[in-house]
């Protein structure tokens, strides 16, 4: 088990290193000179050179990359002498636009994205799995066809259309919900909930549709399994056959997909956050892309990659707990 864990962690480190390398190449080497951007208009060649030296852009690629990497783990110092600025680990650099540390910007926005992700995940899991089960039980009947229609609709509507349509319907026409604005949970939980409700629904609908189909297909397939027939042949009641022999094998694959989906959603929902004006990681990414704020783009990209890799590993570990066949180290 420990060996397995170490293996996984080592793999994770390699993947993250490669992600760092690629993002570094894309954002610092291939994109326009950051020094020119930092300098702004009315800039002299000397000023640009000065900035380049401060940012370390005059040094060779591998040195720069090494400084960036060590900054992540040990922090780094920008500039020299009296101008020196200490950037504590994990240092992702400073925003070209606001001069804030990128790490701080991400940490500030992470709770918003987490709230959006958790709420949406709860919604889509509940709705998707329930609808999928109903569909499987009533296979071929009206309920199944009705749900199939709904999932098709849910999968086909793009998020931004859904977001705008919901906003128009619930906020403008029916006036059931206030226009989205940031309310801390401690201040007014009801307002807080209302505020997040629309983003949750928007994000949940597409995913719920996918989970519905997945659950339905898995359950129907599992019910055809020989071991389900064996369970019936033993004289078990339908409840026990379902709960014990059909549901567990059918829902296990959903854990895998859920882990991945949830992890990538934690890294920010770009469109939804932007439409609803939520100040999360997704909006941060969108803003920094439009302004070509490279350190921020890079920070957000690394975070997303990190979350997906960690999510993947958590799923793998969970799997060893759920499925005895992949349990490692068990004797034959």
């Amino acid at each position: 088990m420990i060996r397995f864990l170490l293996n996984r962690v080592a793999g994770m480190v390699v993947v993250l290193f490669l992600v760092c390398l690629f993002t570094f190449v894309i954002f610092f080497v291939l994109s326009p000179d950051p020094a020119v951007q930092v300098c702004g208009k009315n800039c002299t060649t000397e000023a640009i050179d000065q900035i380049r030296a401060n940012l370390g852009l005059d040094r060779p690629f591998w040195t720069q990359f090494w400084t960036f990497l060590s900054g992540l783990f040990a922090g780094r110092t920008y500039g020299t002498g009296a101008n020196a600025v200490e950037c504590a680990a994990p240092c992702l650099g400073y925003s070209f636009q606001s001069s804030q540390p990128v790490t701080d910007m991400i940490v500030q926005r992470l709770p918003v994205s987490a709230t959006v992700a958790i709420g949406a995940a709860v919604l889509w899991l509940l709705a998707g799995v329930t609808a999928g089960l109903v569909s499987a039980v009533r296979e071929g009947r009206f309920a199944d066809r009705f749900i199939a229609g709904l999932t098709l609709t849910g999968m086909s509507i793009p998020n931004y259309v859904l977001a705008l349509a919901l906003q128009f319907l619930l906020v403008v026409t029916l006036r059931w919900l206030p226009f989205p604005h940031a309310v801390p949970f401690g201040e007014d939980p009801v307002q807080w909930f209302m505020n997040f409700l629309m983003p949750w629904i928007v994000l949940a609908i597409g995913a719920a549709a996918v989970y519905t189909r997945l659950t339905r297909a898995n359950v129907i397939e599992t019910l055809q399994e020989n071991y389900v027939r064996t369970a019936r042949a033993k004289g078990l009641g339908p409840g026990l056959v379902w709960r014990r022999h059909a549901l567990r094998p059918a829902l296990t694959p959903i854990v895998t997909i859920f882990g991945m989906d949830f992890a990538s959603l934690l890294g920010g929902a770009l469109i939804t956050e932007t439409v609803f004006g939520l100040n999360g990681i997704g909006k941060l990414a969108a803003d920094s892309i439009t302004k070509n704020d490279q350190p921020v783009i890079m920070g957000v990209t690394l975070l997303a990659a990190f979350l997906v890799v960690v999510g993947n590993m958590v799923v793998d570990l969970l799997y060893t707990a759920i499925d005895p066949r992949v349990r490692v180290g068990s004797a034959t």
Binding site: R229, K234, L240, D323, P324
Partner: protein
């Protein structure tokens, strides 16, 4: 003659097809005495498996059955699902062809043996059910049963898995065991062991046995009486001895001749596709 355990009359199983109902078992009659053993022989598609599922009341969705199935004096076709459930596993137990796919990979074999016992005996504690599971595993000669009871199906070999399946049926002390191709998925050397085990259990418990197989060699070792089926029809029935020494129907003869023998010319395999077809 002893008392009849199973008496099947005019059993017909049909599936709806595009061109009306397709009958996979046609007006079949079967008889099995208490403690007797019956071999149902036929090629795949002959309706032998559907016959066993019809007796268990486990036909796939859409299939219809008609006719009479009398088990120990009870008409099974008249039973409601709930009453049928009490018969299944407890009084009639079934061993399936592929023990790997027939056991749930997510649960220990002990759990899977014990759950049948718990379903049929009210107020049984887990401990008791576990003891029954261990005892059943010992009875099918699984060594170190007290430890193996907590293992998962994938940790057993094919033959051992089939022993687990048989242990599962044994724990309930059924009056009838239906074994559907119990040795087909196994190595030849293991096949003989499983057949011996089935014969031993029948002798010990006095349970009736229906052995369904495409392999006449298998049936010759275990069954007293044999029914030969083809395309849902009963071709011939009689004592095992008579079927083997004096087959009356051409199809039965073809089946017998299709069993490879040690003195066969190399490369020669006879099929049943010859003149019996016409």
């Amino acid at each position: 003659m002893s008392e009849a355990l199973l008496r099947v009359r005019g059993l017909t199983v049909a599936f709806p097809t595009a061109s009306g109902p397709g009958e996979v078992v046609k007006a079949l009659d079967l008889d099995l005495d208490r403690g007797g053993s019956l071999g149902i022989v036929g090629e795949s598609g002959s309706g032998k498996s559907m016959t066993s599922l019809a007796i268990m009341g486990l036909l796939p969705k859409g299939a219809t059955r008609s006719g009479s199935i009398e088990f120990a004096g009870t008409e099974l076709t008249a039973l409601r699902e709930r009453a049928m459930r009490a018969v299944r596993g407890d009084r009639i137990a079934m061993v399936f062809q592929d023990p790997l796919s027939s056991l749930n990979p997510y649960y220990t074999v002990g759990t899977q043996i014990a759950e049948a016992y718990q379903a049929h005996r009210r107020g049984v504690t887990r401990r008791q059910a576990r003891r029954v599971a261990i005892a059943a595993m010992e009875r099918v000669h699984i060594e170190d049963a007290a430890r193996r009871v907590d293992h998962y199906p994938h940790q057993f070999s094919g033959g051992m898995r089939q022993r687990v399946m048989i242990a599962m049926t044994l724990s309930m002390e059924p009056e009838l065991i239906i074994a559907d191709e119990p040795t087909t998925a196994l190595d030849v050397t293991v096949q003989a062991q499983i057949l011996d085990l089935l014969a031993e259990i029948r002798a010990d418990t006095g349970a009736g046995l229906i052995l369904i197989t495409h392999d006449l060699a298998v049936v010759s070792e275990v069954a007293d009486r044999i029914v030969v089926m083809r395309d849902g029809d009963l071709v011939e029935s009689g004592t095992a001895e008579r079927i083997f020494t004096d087959p009356r129907e051409p199809y039965t003869r073809m089946l017998l001749e299709a069993v490879p023998r040690i003195d066969d010319e190399i490369g020669l395999l006879r099929t049943t596709a010859g003149e019996a077809e016409s």
